[in-house]
């Protein structure tokens, strides 16, 4: 079967496709950092909880218990934006692959609700070991499942030659388990989470250290070490991930396309820099190079998708029916909302001096 026949037609968009491409990358970066933080933080918490016996409420890693539910809220919120923009420019591919694995996709919703409530149960019952461990474990398993499903979804999206499997199972239960790249990507996600979890621990502990909370300093160091270890493993996983790509992708990233290669290499270099600064417990530069790494890698991720789809789709194909008045309105509202958010966060920060739970 000629698979290109299965590719749905595309609709018009209200502004240049590259705008949505760019905004999708930037918002995805925020989303994935938050998701990594949640998963990584949970893994760190679980590991340390399993290592010690008894109900220990005063554990140094407990601050993460408070950040996790808040970060889940923000992760969901920041997941909306890339989800919107991927549907704007890649919807015809994204919806199709989603439908093929519909049962797995829809199961994300009840599972995410359970995971989210588990994060609150964990926080509320942090001193009751069994409950806390069970809640953490459930949260982790569910997040891993969701991650794997999304990886599968996004992979299937760029492999329309597989879509004819729909005709064998139309109940939305198609899932690919045989491709190596899925596991390489999954591992890349897990190690990233461990690294970001460590960095989150370090950052939160830095603020606690400034407020004079004991043991916070040790937690900063521990967090940085976890970041370094996770990032190193990440590089190894990254190599595996790179070489499980299609050859056209590998070629492009290793010199075939100048821009793509430069962005990719910049990402690797800044990852190395981040590792070095983390071993020096230099928070500011670690965070700076970490963000630069994330930026370059999120761009690389989007660039790879461009390469993977180039034989049957180009963003240039999409017709633009401009709605510049609405784009302007969006900028205005984003600005106004941003100002209000800034105001609220400032109030929240300045009120910290009065005490209150983090």
């Amino acid at each position: 079967m000629d698979y290109t026949r299965l590719i749905p037609s595309i609709e018009t968009i209200p502004a240049n496709a590259w705008l949505f491409w760019l905004l999708g990358i930037l918002s995805f970066m925020i989303h994935i950092i938050l998701v990594n933080s949640v998963l990584g933080g949970s893994l760190i918490l679980l590991f340390s909880r399993l290592r010690q016996a008894g109900n220990d409420a005063g554990h140094g890693h407990s601050p993460l218990a408070g950040t996790i539910p808040v970060f889940i809220a923000l992760a969901i919120n920041f997941g909306v934006v890339p989800l919107l923009f991927i549907q704007v420019i890649y919807g015809h591919l994204y919806y199709t692959s989603s439908v093929l694995m519909a049962v797995f996709k829809i199961s994300i919703i009840p599972l995410l609700i359970i995971a989210y409530y588990c994060s609150y149960i964990h926080k509320a019952k942090v001193s009751f070991r069994t409950v806390a461990v069970a809640a953490l474990a459930a949260l982790i398993i569910i997040l891993l499942y969701i991650g794997f499903i999304f990886i599968n979804n996004l992979n299937l999206m760029v492999h329309p030659e597989k879509w004819e499997h729909y005709f064998d199972s139309r109940g939305g239960t198609y899932i690919v388990l045989s491709e190596v790249i899925l596991y390489a990507r999954f591992l890349h996600f897990i190690f990233a989470s461990i690294a970001v979890g460590g960095l989150t621990l370090a950052l939160v502990s830095t603020f606690r250290e400034r407020r004079g909370i004991p043991d916070a300093g040790a937690a900063v160091t521990q967090g940085m070490r976890i970041f370094a270890a996770g990032s190193t493993a990440q590089i190894a996983a990254g190599v595996w991930y790179l070489f499980s790509q299609q050859s056209v992708v590998i070629t492009a990233l290793l010199g075939g396309d100048v821009v793509f290669t430069m962005v990719f290499l910049a990402g690797i270099c800044s990852a190395l820099a981040a590792i070095i600064f983390s071993l020096k417990i230099n928070i500011k530069f670690t965070v700076a190079f970490f963000l630069l790494t994330m930026l370059c890698m999120c761009f690389t991720r989007a660039n790879v998708r461009l390469i993977e789809t180039q034989s049957y789709f180009s963003l240039k194909e999409i017709n633009v029916v401009p709605q510049y008045d609405l784009l302007a309105l969006f900028i205005v509202f984003a600005g106004a909302a941003g100002a209000a958010i800034f105001y609220m966060l400032r109030k929240a920060a300045s009120s910290n001096a009065g005490g209150g739970e983090a």
Partner: protein, 879 residues
Amino acid sequence: MNYPVWQVNWLGGGTIIAVISILHVYIAHLAVGGGMYIWLTDCKAVRENSVDLRNFIKKHVWFFLLVTMVFGAVTGVGIWFSISLVNPAGTSALIHYFVFAWAIEWTFFLGEIVALLVYHYRFDALKEQDRNRVAFLYFIFAWLSLFAINGILSFMLTPGKWTATMNFWHGFFNPSFFPTLFFRTFLSAMFAGIFSYVTALFGGAVPLRKNLLDYSRKWVQYSALGMLPFLVWSYFSVPAPLRETSFYLNPQTSPFIVFFFIALFVALVLPFYINASNNLRYQKSMAAVIAAAGLFIMGSFEYLREITRKPFVIRDYLYSSSIYAGDVGKILEEGFLPRARWSPLREITAENEIAAGREIFNLQCLSCHTIRGIRNDIAPRTAGFTYDGLLAQLDGQGRVLDYMPPFMGTDDEKRALALYLYREINGKEMPGEPQQPLQPGPGKALPQFKANSEYVLLAWPERGISLLSDCDRWFTLFPPDTTMKALLIKRGANPQVVTEEALLRYEIENDFQHPSRHIPFWDHAESTMKVSVKKDQGITGSYLSGSFVYDDRRGTLAAVSLPLAPYGDSGAYDPYPVFTIESGIHNSAREVLKTVSVAAVSAEPGCANCHEGGWKHEASRAGISDGTAINILRAHDRISRTGLFSDARSGNPRSCASCHEDALSGSAGDGKRMNLSASIHGFHAGYIKQKDSGACLKCHPSSTVTGTMSSRGIHETVGMTCVECHGTMDQHALALLKHESAKKTSARLAGALKKESSVPFDRIEPRKPWLQEPDCLTCHVNFDAPTNYEAFNRWNAGPSGLFKNNTDNVGVPCQACHGPAHALYPVDGPSASSGNAQPVQYTGSPYPLGADRKCGVCHKKGMNDSLHHDNMLRMFRNR
């Protein structure tokens, strides 16, 4: 067709969306109203300097966060996931046309969650004024989210000018936007009050409980009352034809209207009971009830909104089946399967016909129907139809009952879908070929006519064929009702009609003298016809043997409403039973005159052609079976919101004419509904699309098995069909509907048919059934050879102009010489020998009496004047 279909056969994709959506929307409205509540209550706490109230808010907000932020937010994403999976085309349209609206809404969502997190986590730390401001910002962001989403949601139902302009602002600020915005705002406040009851009662000891309960009551009741005018405004913002379709025609809406108002009533009234009680357990359970009522209010409203939008996802733009309204024309021309990207079949062959039907079903029907699933199950909805019935249903789908879309495809694709529904969904086998046609019996022996006889005795049925519906246990459409007329002429130079001394008697053939043994009419006549008649007695009191009586209205001797049925005691089915008419004349010669006349009667209205149930008597293919009758009543109950099936089951069947005025039986109906002919033709014309007499013969008998022919006279012989005189089915229906234009349903039925008629609707002459018919002289100008062959649209002015009532220039009924309409001499076909009995008896040929210049039959000699009517003195044209 652009996207693959996620086949959720049992649960239905729509069910998944419904469950997630209703939960989300309930909580989302709570989030908006709750924001208003938290802000105003916090201000109140500050104003009253109340620590207790402040503590209550703090606790309230914690539960509020757990509900709205977790369950609310994730189910919101859940809606997005579920609609993307069940209707990607619709989701894609909403995403692409409203990208920036969604992007703007996201900024509100972000502001909302930051506000709530700051408010909750810094509740104790923030200065009071700052805390109030954060609460206010939360509320504003939440309400703005509602504003943005409501724009898109209301657009789906009433896109307004957007359909023509595709302009964002026309779509966003559409006709139902503002009414529903305010409705939802008040609803949100009401839900905030409900949640306030929950936290005040379930949140442990609360010092201000009594005050809080009173406070909660006000939130619930005042908001509910404030909501009502906007509910009414929202209702009227939906266009009137759409309101009619959804709230009157769609049988699915009534339960939800009931749920909505009962739940609203509960929510309004329960606060009084909660607040008056001192029993905490009782109060808690009532709080749970009121929370459930809130869910029912929300769910019913959203369900009604969704149903009203059917069959579209975006009205007038995109159907629920993901087919664009703009593509329908091309699909009808080029076919559906060739254009469906995700169909593995592109063309239909004999081998893959059912598989093709399955693909069409998946792509066009599965979006709303389940297969043996929990709602809108296609199996029982199609079980009541035969294969032909399914084809008819697909032909008429969505024209009148426009909560359904039209079928989109070629005739081959329609057949494939019908075959799939019939064979695979309903597991039926196609019916076998009809058996050998019944052979017409030998003709009846004709009485002799002596050349010197003083009289000519003529008798004929008033109607060429009488239909009877022998399913009286369920309903009576046509009671057994055959009227015979007779004329005794004294022969001579100046023939005279004899009336008083005629002493004419009639008797049906032996085999047909006991119709009560074969049809159930008499078991139910009291219920259906509201008459008390003995067995074998007609509705006006006559039996199948008796005397003719002079009928003033008819102006002849008549035997009215004889209860003739085509079932013989010997087991024969014969639609042409014969009356023998005799006269015992007291004259010098003491002549006993005799003639015979066939009174065609049929129990074959073709309901079973479409309404599954087979024939009552399979071998003769006659009679309306119980199954068919039940399927008819069920369809009628569903479409017209009647209770006919349950009435019949409890022993009170009705006649159609009891509601629908019918000139044939003389019933005035109930005054509200269209007359019977307009109703039955007006409705079925939408489903029977043939432009030839094939449409008529779906119901009016014409069977090669029984030899019953509704039309079997000279017009039939020269090649004319129903259509030349009565018009095509749609034209026939439109004339009847136009006469009933004062009645509500006439406009809707006529509207669906107007486009098809080759005669423009404003030129169609309204027609009152049975009293206005096509006129012979439209074609036979001056009683001469026809100048054209179309008699549709010119009716006689009143009953006296009808062929059956009309007479010639000297008062002889037209029917006496020519026979009844549809069986005009010479009759052809299986009933020819008895159908032409009188002309043959008196003239030796089957032509109308007096044809071939045989004036002598009455005048005893030839005549030179065309006295009876012009152009009559010549040889019969069509030999």
